[in-house]
Symmetry: C2
Subunit: 185 residues, 2 copies
């Protein structure tokens, strides 16, 4: 039997938690976000839902680019901290978190050295939804740490624990692979 609850996003969690890097030079910032998803394949574009009060919003408005950094569950404390402190209040938030930047290939905003995948994105369009600006961005480069990744199947879940966010301090990670039955001919 179903029970109606106060409308909330919680039934749509857990979902992947990423580090979003924005800005360049001495204006680089990092935040945590899990409201990020692929939108189209041709061309490859992703969506990022971003609160318009964040410092990351200010930097993406200015430079129109960002990186999505996929992380292992080992980084859980840093991701949680990245999601709770504003880059407006902490100078050099990336080094404050004990993280390091790595140059991007196609954009000037860097990635995170400690990530396992870096997606470089350039804003293509946006739409304001409530308190959020929903960015739609072209993926201009994708890099991965190849020991954890298979070009046909994606992350090797036996080797890497991709971080997923549930709620607050609660995170999780995918478990074993479940193969669906082949479609009957």
């Amino acid at each position: 039997m179903f029970k109606e609850v106060e409308p909330t996003y919680l039934p749509l969690h857990p979902r992947p938690a990423y580090l979003i890097v924005s800005g360049k030079g001495n204006e680089v910032n990092v935040m945590a976000a899990s409201w990020v998803m692929p939108v189209s394949e041709e061309p490859l574009r992703i969506a990022l839902a971003l609160d318009r009060e964040t410092y990351t919003f200010e930097l993406i408005e200015k430079y129109r680019e960002f990186t999505v950094n996929v992380v292992d569950a080992k980084l859980v404390d840093k991701v949680y901290l990245a999601g709770t402190i504003s880059g407006r209040k902490v100078k050099n938030k990336i080094s404050y978190l004990g993280l390091h930047t790595t140059p991007s290939l196609k954009i000037e905003t860097p990635g995170i050295e400690e990530a396992v995948g870096i997606i470089e994105a350039r804003v293509w369009n946006s739409l304001d939804v409530g308190e959020v600006r929903l960015y739609i961005a072209d993926v201009v480069s994708v890099r991965v740490k190849p020991e954890y990744y298979n070009e046909k199947y994606g992350w090797d879940l036996r080797k890497i624990q991709i971080l997923l966010h549930a709620v607050g301090r609660a995170f999780t990670t995918p478990s074993r692979i479940i193969l669906a039955e082949r479609k009957k001919k």
Copy 2:
């Protein structure tokens, strides 16, 4: 060391896999989708990236509403099948899959009885991105099976295995909860 790969959405998977119901009366259809996410909290809105060639697209264009059905990993074969067969080719795709509808509270499009959560959504706005129409929809009702859900924390991952999609036939489910360290004061 990072390696550049052909741009692909794969590094952004696994992520939750849902059953999307569209239409009403004898035009009801179901499909699988994992490019769905929350976008804003005030008001509560979600995004659904939908290929404009699907039958679901036709039905959402017609009725401007849909349900997002959150499912347990036990439904993996049905979700995979829902994602590989078009409702244009199979009459009564929902019963073909061995699933049943349940009436919604605020919209005419039903939910799936076998789901653990049903989110009723009414289209608010949309944006075309490549081959996709990205719908932004108001969440008008949320129901859950309360034995698996906590109103403060969301799904109880000890009791329910929320289905996540990796690639093709490969799915997974969240494992244990990992608690991030409390922020130091």
